[in-house]
Amino acid sequence: MKTHWQILVVDDEEVMCESLAAWLREDGYLVDTAASGREAVEKARARDYAIYFVDLKMPGGMDGIETMMQVRRLHPDASIIIITAYATVDTAITAMKEGAQEYIVKPCNPEEISLLVSRIIKVKNLQRENTILRKKLARQYCVHDVISKNPRMRDILALAREVASLRSTVLIQGDSGTGKEMVARAIHYSGDRAAKPFIAVSCAALAETLLESELFGHEKGAFTGANQQKQGKFEMADGGTIFLDEIGDIPPKLQVDLLRVLQERSFYRVGGSQEVRVDVRVVAATHVDLQQAVADGKFRDDLYYRLNVIQIHIPPLRERREDIPLLAAHFLERLSHELGKDIGEISEGGLKVLMDYNWPGNVRELENAIERAMVTCRGASLGEEDFSFLAQNGHAAKVWAPPAGTSLADMEKVMIAATLERTGGNIKESASVLGIDRSTLYEKIKRYEIPR
């Protein structure tokens, strides 16, 4: 809509001012006028105009250039078009140097003004859309919006919030589908780098040579097919965050290069001799046990210690079953919009299936399961039968039997220890889950010498 954008026409000649304003109004813009530079600055102080048409020669000690400079001090992003009947190369150069977007000579062709205004508005619309999308993205991935009531997850989110504005490297560990990238994004969008790029790279997806070029870019002619210089992901993420997923799969040579970037904050493009400096925060993730990989000699220990400044371990979904109803409701609501299906809830039976399932694919699998169930569902709620495919997957929770020779006391000890771990050592919550008094729980912890 054009009417969202306001234009200010500044000219001491009333007839010039009013005729241009009237012409722009016919085009659907909201147009104000000012008869002097001072009046223009006053109006700019009260309102942010999208475009300013400013006459170059105006009396009263403030000409068009001075007016433009003062307006730009108030609104650095303002688009200012200098108009003049007395065009000279000098004034044109001065106007452009001081930040004028265009310099036009009056009388001008109607087509010229029309194209100029529509071009500026097009850019403004894109900029506004970009800002809105950035805000939306930041909200979507904000720490506050990560869904969990599990104490361990809450600790993780609190840690993510604490480290969000630091530059320290973060290593996120967890099984596939637990939401490692989601946590990485939450860290990025909750910190002071939120307005800068978040670049995600899957290190497992590419061969060694491709990955090197992908991460560090290449110079023209660096290898066959390198027809032009290309920026790498590290350069793209400058000022922001790079998320290196599946870091455990990175080949040995690249481990050395990556170590150098982490230490020096600089690198060379493939085939390049000029050092490129970047300010990038690295968040890495892996589903493999990196410590074990170091012990096995598959991963450099110096790189591991560089990456492992702040460690976050995301528990698998089966260890935080209390989040299943919350996550399921969240996916149901989101997918209802996306799929255009009016499914309001998951029945008790449906929820029981979800709670009993093992979720080897974690949150991602849960999301996919909800989507699949919604696609085939004919009713207004997801029932047990809509999730029948989970049982066929062969991962449904099997009836568990204790190993032979296990005593009741052994079982009790294991159960209490596991519950305490799951609740983050919360006695009240653990007692409630186990169905015993707090005093009984204290007594059993003491008796079995369970560490807390």
Binding site: K2, M16, L20, W23, E26, K106, P107, C108, P110
Partner: protein
Amino acid sequence: MKYLYVGAMSDIESGADREALAVVRERVSADFGAPVREMALPAIDFAFDRARRQYGSIPVLEMLTRICPDDAWKLLAVTGHDLFIPVLTFVYGHAQLGGRVAAVSLARLKQEFYGLPPNREIFLERTAKEALHETGHTFGLVHCADRSCAMALGTNIRQIDSKRAAFCASCATMLRRRVRE
């Protein structure tokens, strides 16, 4: 009863211009649904700019406002002279947005202006489009994004030729609302 006045400037003398005037009367009557009255208008020599050798449309609109009859809903003037506003090199027409008066120039609607042989049909078609466009402005309509609508912006003759001599559905709805108001 309010009338749509169509006024011929004194320079409208040739057969082609008189035919164009008849087209304007016919189209505004049909599209704006009100009876049309003719009006003879004075010469606009006072608006002549010697340096530009064109006629200023702002003093013309001021004059029209002064002489606009009391029973006129709108007054649309037609001239053969080339019009301009100070900041632009020319205008095909000029209207008071949401006001009572408007003017259409026939000068740049003729093929001869572009060094081409005269073409009566093209000229009359362009005249009808401009008459609807400027009168539409007096009803508060602004430029339309639909390039085929009579209210689309026309800054060159190609843009005018690619329009239709009719309002798009959206502008027609808006116009009906404004007419009722």
